[in-house]
């Protein structure tokens, strides 16, 4: 193995079903259902998936959902705003956890 992440692996994703087909089938049915048109549009769901892909830093999902969004007519400006939404939550969550540190300090300091 020369690299942990290989772009060609994305096309082999279906091979994950080889060793646990029943679970794979359930996952795929669920996955397909999640991204169908519903109370949210398919495009809104794809934008959420795209933002989450950045938050969880999955290069496969970023590659895939960038292409999906282009094909849905989403432009670069809209995509980067979605990335900022993810970044704001990650940054905000980091800052919010600062309250824990402050609480510990408050408990211990004179």
């Amino acid at each position: 193995m020369k690299t942990y992440y290989n772009p060609e692996d994305l096309e082999q994703f279906g091979n994950m079903g080889e060793d646990a087909p029943a679970l794979w089938d359930k996952f795929m049915a669920y996955y397909g259902g999640v991204f169908e048109e519903g109370a949210l549009t398919a495009k809104e769901k794809a934008l959420i998936a795209f933002a989450v892909a950045h938050a969880v830093q999955c290069p496969y999902c970023i590659d895939s959902y960038t292409q999906t969004l282009l094909q849905m007519g989403v432009n670069r400006e809209q995509m980067i705003e979605a990335v900022h939404a993810a970044a704001a939550i990650r940054g905000g969550a980091t800052l919010a956890h600062g309250m824990q540190a402050k609480n510990v300090v408050k408990q211990l300091e004179l």
Binding site: T41, K43, Q67, L70, Q71, M72, G73, N75, R76, E77
Partner: protein, 325 residues
């Protein structure tokens, strides 16, 4: 010539060998549309142009060929004259052609890039179109300036918006007799979005930001020929784009391919199945051009398919009139 050469497309299952192409590989008995490409000259040099049109091109149809088109149109009872280019407005005989068609009561579509309507010498065309009741099909690759200008050149979006406002003021997109349809095409090596959802988005964005109204939006697939084909080849995207088109092949889209219902006439009178075959020089299976066939009843003909045809059958299908399937 780059990817304008169909042989450059390699490693895909031959389109012509698809089962559906055996059933639907011929034209309909009666054809609706005569598309006429009256010049290669254009005020723009769009990155996706399959014709490779631009300010430096000089090929243009003369009045004799236009007149022959009108005779062939009548002889074969076509229903729609679809005038394209280049920018048709830059052919000096274009007003004559449109007026002659209007006199004959022919339903005429003009494909305009909008920006040309702001050029000196072309300012009269919006009022002329309204007077002749021409249906307009206008390119607007996206509803934002940045994305449009990236594809078509700096300042083009602003000119398009100014032209659209003028057309709206004349009644286009508002008066039922004055149809204004827009065209979206992807700004790169990917397929177009769902036409219906994109229409709603365009309608809201253009109305909110610019007060612009239109009738329909056609979401077109970029065909891997001409300048767009060259881009695909140069950027290494050609194999991936072809793979995407082939993966999205929709058998149901073959029956309604536009080539089955039209002819496409080049500036010199040569006849093709469509404007993409025209760009590639793949002539229609007919015994001559417009000047040879003026009085002829066009026979049912076999379509000249090649692998770029996958662009018309991907997903919801694509034609000069938008999605087909």
């Amino acid at each position: 010539m780059g990817a304008a050469d169909p042989a450059r497309i390699q490693g895909v299952f031959p389109f012509a060998e698809r089962e559906e192409c055996q059933s639907f590989g011929v034209t309909r008995r009666e054809l609706d549309i005569m598309q006429v490409n009256i010049c290669k000259r254009c005020n723009l040099s769009c990155k996706h142009c399959h014709i490779g049109a631009g300010p430096g091109r000089t090929e243009r149809m003369d009045r004799d060929v236009m007149a022959a088109c009108l005779r062939l149109f009548a002889r074969n009872a076509f229903r729609t004259l679809d005038i394209t280019g280049g920018a048709p407005e830059l052919n000096p005989d274009f007003p004559w052609f449109v007026a002659a068609a209007a006199e004959r009561g022919i339903h005429t579509i003009v494909r305009t890039n909008l920006a040309v309507l702001r050029e000196e010498g072309c300012r009269r065309f919006p009022a002329f179109y309204a007077e002749k009741r021409v249906e307009l099909v206008a390119s607007l690759p996206y509803y934002t300036e940045k994305d449009t200008d990236r594809q078509r050149g700096a300042g083009v979006f602003a000119a398009c918006i100014a032209a659209l406002r003028e057309l709206n003021d004349l009644g286009y997109g508002r008066d039922p007799a004055l149809t204004l349809n827009l065209v979206y095409n992807p700004g790169g090596a990917f397929l177009p979005p769902n036409q219906q959802s994109l229409t709603a988005e365009y309608r809201k964005k253009l109305a909110d930001a610019h007060g612009i109204a239109f009738n329909k939006l056609y979401a077109l697939t970029n065909n891997p020929v001409g300048r767009f084909g060259d881009f695909l080849e140069r950027s290494g995207n050609l194999p991936g784009y072809m793979k995407r088109l082939v993966s999205a092949f929709n058998p149901a889209a073959v029956e309604s391919m536009m080539c089955r219902n039209q002819i496409s006439v080049d500036w010199d009178g040569a006849i093709y199945d469509c404007d993409f075959n025209l760009a590639l020089g793949l002539k229609a299976d007919l015994p001559g051009g417009v000047l040879d066939l003026t009085e002829a009843e066009l026979p049912v003909r076999r379509i000249v398919f090649a692998d770029h045809c996958y662009a018309c059958t991907a997903g919801a299908g694509s034609s000069c009139g938008g999605a087909t399937a």
